[in-house]
Symmetry: C2
Subunit: 322 residues, 2 copies
C-alpha cells in the first residue's frame, strides 16, 4: 500500500515549493519552480493546478494525496478560501483559490497566508514546538507576521491579523510599498536594507562622495549588504544595525501587546545575517518594561525554507485548525 | 432575603470607585474616594481593606458579598493575583493583592489590570456587547489597552498583554514615562497633550513669542486644551490633531496585528474631546490596507466611569474567566 498525505505548496515571491507531506510531517518528495506573475486570476489558478498535477503524477500512484494546501504571500481569508490580494503574483485581488483550485485538481484545497503557514510549521515541528503561544516575524523581501495560540493561528475577524510588517513604528518615516510611511517593513525588510545602503553610498547632504571600494557597483541583494558588513564596510554595518534596532522595536511592540511565550524570527534576511538578530534582541530587551525583561524569549526559526510547506500541510491535515 | 453580588473596586490614578454589583450587572451602591500613595505594600492593602469593610458595613446586612474584584492601574498577573508594579500608588512592585487582601477582608479576591477590567465591562454591558473580539484603548493620563476574545482577556504568557501605550510608533519620538522614546502614550495621553500645548505656547525655534490670550496661565489639564481648541485656539487644535493622528496610527496598528471585530476607545481624554476620535478614525482608515478599509470598526465606549468596576465584577462573578 502507498503512503497518504497532502500536497503542500508554498508560493513565495521568487520560488514555489511543492512537497508531498505525510501526516507525521515527513517530506517524501519536493520540487522547486520559479514563480511567475499573472495578469488574470484564472491564469494563476490554471498554472498552479498544472504544477500540482505534474508533481503528483511524477510521484506515481504510491502516494495518495488527500488534500492540497497552499501558502500564499498576501492577506488571506482562509475560512473563505480567498486571497484578498496578492501583490507578488501580479497585483491580483479577490482570488477564490480554494474553490477555483478544487474544481481544477479535484481535491480539497486549503489556503493560508504564508507567514501563518511558516508559524504553524515552526509550532508543529520547529523552534516553536510546545509553545502555548508564539509570534513569528518573517523577515524577507517584506515583513510578515503570525500569532499562533494553542496551535491555531489568530486570524482575526477578517482573517488578516498578524500583519506586523504594516504596523507603523516611525511616524513620518520612510515610504513603504503599501503607501504608508514608517511601517516596520519600510525599515527592516531586504528592500529597506538595500535602499538604505544605496542611499548611504551616494553623496549625502553633507556632500561627501563615497570612498568605499566597489561602491559604484551597488549591490542588489540584502545578502550582499550583510557580506559587506562582515568584511568591515562601516556603512553596511550602520544600515544593518539600524534595521536590527527597528526589528527590536517591532519585537518589543509584539511583546507588550501580545506577550507570547516565544517570539520567533525567520525568513531569508534573518538567515543571511546573524548580525540582525543579536542587536535586534538587545534593542527589544532594553525596550521591555524593566521587571519583565527576563520574560522576553526571542529565537531563530529552525525549519528554514520548509516551514511554510510544513505549516500548510499541518493545516490541510487537520481542517479544524482553520 | 438580601441581594448577592460582589464588591468591585476600580483603583484609578486619582479616584477609587467602589460598587456593589449584582450578577446581572446592576450597581446597587457606589462610593468614590480619593486615591492615595503609599510607601509600603502593607499600607496600601490595609487601606484598601478598610475602605472595603467600611463600604460593606454601610451597605448593611441586606447585601451578601461573595467576592472582591480589584481593577488595578499597572501590569498585573491576574492568575497569580499579583500586581507587577503600580506606579500610581507609590512605585510599589510585586504586590500580592489577592492573597494579602483575602486575609484582611475574608473574601475571595480577584485582581486585574484596569484596562482589562474596562474592556470586560464594555464587552459585558457596553459598546462591545456581542463582539467576538474587541480591543479597547483607554486614553487618559496614560494609554491602556486590552484585547478580549470570546469574553476572555488575552493576557499573554506573563499576564501583561495589551500594553498598547508602550508600543513604539515613533522611533526617536518624545520621551515616555517608561523611559523609552516614541511610545503611543508619549504622543496621545493627557500628559502628552498638555506637554505639547505648553511647548507650542513657548517661543519656539522660530523665536516668536506666543500671542494667544491667556497663554501665560498655562493649562494643567488636557480638558482645557480641548476647550481652547473648541474656542478657536489654533495651537490647541494642532496639538489635538497631532495626538489624534498618532492615536489613529495606534488603531491601525491594532487592526493590522490583531484584526478585532471592533476597536473601542474610552478613557477620560476620549470623553473630554469628540475632537479626538473623529480625526483618529480617519487617520486609521487611511492607514488600513485599501481593500480592508470598510472592515475597520471604531466605536466610543458606552459605560463611562463604570466600565472598570463592572468588568472587575464580571471577572469575580465567574472565576473561569481568569
Amino acid at each position: 500500500m502507498g503512503k497518504q498525505g497532502v500536497v503542500a505548496v508554498d508560493l513565495g515571491g521568487t520560488n514555489v515549493r511543492l512537497g508531498l507531506v505525510t501526516a507525521g510531517g515527513k517530506v517524501l518528495r519536493r520540487r522547486r519552480i520559479k514563480m511567475r506573475t499573472f495578469s488574470a486570476k484564472d491564469g494563476l489558478l490554471a498554472w498552479l493546478a498544472e504544477a500540482i498535477d505534474g508533481f503528483l503524477s511524477d510521484a506515481g500512484p504510491a502516494f495518495a494525496a488527500r488534500a492540497v494546501a497552499i501558502g500564499f504571500a498576501g492577506p488571506t481569508d482562509s475560512r473563505a478560501g480567498r486571497v484578498y490580494y496578492a501583490p507578488n503574483v501580479g497585483r491580483l485581488a479577490g482570488i477564490e483559490v480554494a474553490s477555483g483550485l478544487r474544481r481544477l485538481v479535484g481535491l480539497r484545497v486549503v489556503v493560508e497566508n504564508d507567514a501563518n503557514c511558516a508559524a504553524l510549521g515552526e509550532y508543529w515541528l520547529g523552534a516553536g514546538r510546545g509553545a502555548k503561544s508564539l509570534f513569528l516575524f518573517t523577515v524577507g523581501t517584506g515583513i510578515g507576521g503570525s500569532f499562533v495560540v494553542d496551535g491555531k493561528v489568530w486570524r482575526g475577524h477578517d482573517g488578516i491579523a498578524g500583519e506586523i510588517g504594516h504596523t507603523v513604528v516611525m511616524v513620518g518615516g520612510p515610504r513603504c510599498s503599501c503607501g504608508k510611511r514608517g511601517c516596520l517593513e519600510a525599515l527592516v525588510s531586504a528592500t529597506a536594507i538595500v535602499r538604505d545602503y544605496r542611499a548611504a553610498l551616494r553623496p549625502g547632504r553633507a556632500g561627501r562622495a563615497p570612498r568605499v571600494a566597489g561602491a559604484e557597483a551597488e549591490p542588489l541583494e540584502a545578502k550582499e549588504v550583510f557580506e559587506r558588513a562582515r568584511s568591515g564596510d562601516r556603512r553596511a554595518r550602520q544600515v544593518i544595525d539600524c534595521a536590527a534596532r527597528a526589528l527590536g522595536i517591532g519585537i518589543a511592540n509584539v511583546f507588550h501587546l501580545l506577550n507570547p511565550e516565544v517570539i520567533l524570527v525567520g525568513g531569508g534576511v534573518s538567515r543571511a545575517g546573524a548580525a540582525l538578530l543579536g542587536p535586534a534582541t538587545e534593542e527589544a530587551r532594553s525596550a521591555v518594561f524593566g521587571p519583565l525583561r527576563g520574560r522576553l524569549r526571542v529565537r531563530r526559526t529552525s525549519l528554514g525554507d520548509d516551514a511554510g510547506m510544513l505549516g500548510a500541510a499541518y493545516l490541510a491535515l487537520d481542517r479544524r485548525r482553520i
